[in-house]
Symmetry: C2
């Protein structure tokens, strides 16, 4: 029981910091989007394509979460208005970004000059679903080569998603991925999230996703 | 400090149970292999192909770890000598199999009638690297569509691997995956793990991997 209690305490403290992050973002008219996926589903690539279409009308910062390395921050640096890299360590409790890390990142960003903060979470379909960061939207990316059974195996992250992106649609001809089965499995968990099928590589479907994202932002 | 201390206690307790698991396996002349990867890298498919070549000479049980569902256990049931499904919950401390779960699984298996226990870990490149299960070999599978930067981003799991499998080699023509860059990144972390490039879909390269695995088992 002691262990479970401690985990509850961690999650409650995280929730309080997340609410404070959300208030800070709201005060600055800034929307935050938490992008989550398995390793290698294409989060960074989706973010780069999204930045291409949103900027310069929408001013966007990116917060990069990784266990180690600055590979992703280097990739988005020139494509965004600001970037912060967070390196979590690989201890079990930090297998995802937590609200404290986002608090620290937000302090480094010129929030009043931004419209959108895109948070690229650590590549993981389990831990990120536990930690509210103070974001306004949760997006889950699943890529076609991962297979259509991911919602069955990692239900929580799909249940809480505000939108589900299926990336790497260019690989449909070469992998066994039943799109309808995947969508039905998500729908059983989540009645409302729209689906976007896209390919970062070819650019197919990116515009529909970015149009939807733009419509979620407050009118300027 | 309190939090870190508790995590240390969890890891120490886990280590003791892992040593006990290993002693139980050794007493029964049974080798355990821990298969780890990101979600959708093809762990179950690699295991099915491996079972095809090992059995019936080698008697193999499979322990399936998933947050939810029995999808994988159903797939391997007929192909193995015994199967146990473990459903972890999605609390932060159980984003991987832990030694206690393997202890429970081993109690359900006819160990004296088995040569090999294949443990399919939860799809996750972070948490599993923290928890010794009592296995004899740690295998990491990375699939080509995930990209060649995974060792940079998830160093610990690659550093500790006894072998690294690159799966989905059939997708090389369709994805950007620099095999030499990937291998160099692993080599910087791990001087000894052999590489096996294979395709579960076509069967290419499976025999080399299974030959190596067979050579790791004690002579009967």
């Amino acid at each position: 029981m002691k262990k479970i209690e401690l985990i509850q305490n961690i999650l409650e403290a995280n929730k309080a910091t997340a609410e404070s992050n959300r208030a800070t973002l709201d005060r600055n008219g800034c929307t935050a989007v938490n992008i989550m996926s398995a390793p290698g589903a294409g989060k960074t690539c989706v973010i780069l394509r999204t930045l291409e279409l949103l900027r310069p009308e929408i001013r966007v910062a990116v917060v990069e979460g990784d266990v180690a390395s600055t590979v992703d921050a280097e990739m988005v640096r020139d494509a965004s208005d600001a970037v912060v890299q967070i390196n979590t360590k690989s201890m079990p409790e930090t297998c995802a970004l937590i609200a404290d890390m986002i608090d620290a990142a937000l302090r480094k960003l010129p929030l009043s000059e931004l419209d959108l903060v895109i948070i690229e979470n650590v590549g993981n379909l389990i831990c990120p679903s536990e930690f509210d960061l103070g974001e306004h939207l949760k997006i889950v990316i699943s890529s076609s080569p991962e297979g259509d059974d991911k919602p069955l195996k990692y239900p929580l992250i799909f249940a809480d998603a505000d939108a589900v992106i299926i990336n790497k649609s260019d690989l449909y001809p070469y992998v066994d991925f039943d799109r309808e089965k995947f969508k039905r499995s998500v729908r059983d968990l989540n009645a409302r999230a729209p689906f976007f099928e896209l390919s970062c590589k070819t650019g197919a479907g990116i515009a529909e996703w970015v149009d939807w994202l733009r419509r979620q932002l407050p009118k300027k």
